[in-house]
């Protein structure tokens, strides 16, 4: 992996970390996670490398396919882009698909919120056609729903149960959408760590 060694300097690592930190569109977390894990494979006698590895792992929460757009440093962006092209040839197609999914999700969500806004009826809110269409998008929308739960605790819980099959998350917090939302966020984070 010649390009890896090109990037493997402290300065570029820090810039890469910065780029990842700035990112806001979590995608391909696992690919990048494995990739960086190999890249930063620690040597037991080198605690600095171990520390970097853990920093990279922590930042994994925020890794993206749009790194090139968010990195302020063009050299790093271009290097990353080359790495993407070389090691993840499917990424472009996947990115297109991910962007389309996000667009569809956002459109449906806005319609859902507009059509059910002002209503108290959970029955109406969670049976709205746009909400049901979001459920029909399946597991790929789970990260997008979790993103929304971090912004506001809207009742995405029926959708999450329907998509994931997890029936008991947050059940003990009946009536408190904030706590139910946090339980789903915790479940999502645990689920990813266990994979």
């Amino acid at each position: 992996m010649p390009i890896l060694s090109e990037l493997k300097t402290d300065v570029e690592l820090l810039l890469l970390e910065k780029a990842l930190e700035d990112a806001s569109n979590p995608r391909h977390i696992f690919e990048w996670h494995d990739y960086i894990q190999n890249w930063l494979k620690p040597t037991p006698e080198n605690p600095r490398e171990i520390a970097k590895r853990y920093v990279a792992r922590a930042k994994g929460e925020k890794w993206v396919c749009e790194i090139r757009a968010v990195s302020a440093d063009k050299t790093v962006s271009e290097n990353i882009e080359r790495i993407i092209d070389e090691h993840f040839p499917k990424l472009e197609a996947e990115k297109e698909s991910a962007l389309q999914l996000r667009k569809d999700f956002n459109e449906l969500m806005l319609k859902w919120m507009d059509q059910t806004g002002g209503q108290s009826s959970l029955t109406n809110i969670t049976s709205n056609i746009n909400y049901l269409r979001i459920i029909s998008l399946g597991k790929p929308v789970v990260p997008l729903i979790i993103e929304q739960l971090k912004i506001q605790p809207a009742p995405w819980f029926v959708a999450l149960r329907a998509i994931t099959g997890e029936m008991n998350v947050g059940k003990q917090f009946s009536g408190n959408f904030g706590k139910i939302a946090q339980a789903w966020i915790d479940w999502y984070n645990d689920d990813r760590e266990n994979k």
């Binding site: 002002g118 209503q119 959970l122 809207a154 009946s174």
Partner: protein, 167 residues
Amino acid sequence: VRLIPERENKWPYLFSEGYKVTSIETWDYNCIAFAADVEDEWWWPDPDGDAMWPIGKREVTKECFIEAFQFVGYSDHETCNGSLESGIEKIAIYLLNGIPTHAAKQLPDGRWKSKLGPWQDIEHNTTKAVEEYVYGKAVIFMKRKSRQLRIALSNFTPLSLPAPRDF
């Protein structure tokens, strides 16, 4: 303070009847909880139990809503109306096609307060102000003694009467 036009326009009588926004928007509570003076829970009889419901029966029927409000001290749904009565708190339950959709609570000055789903709280001059849209009409009214009166009565100790005399 008014709602943004896209929201205000959902209720055809809102502006003409008079209202003002009194809170920020939040998913912390809804109109049903708000009418029961609860501001940290979403109340709805959803079968999955995501929402809080004060009684065991969970049905979106007017009977179930009446029982829920009876549980928190309201009564007289058959005779109560929306007029202002001294020392009395009232709630209004809105129905659309016979299905409960919304609840409002009367303020001490005769106006009403509502939480608009996850949107803001408002104070409105009449129950009509939030009729139509998906709320339908204010059909059921219930009442209970006001909080001050309930406290006063709970502290009231009746004077002891002399024992009945034997004749």
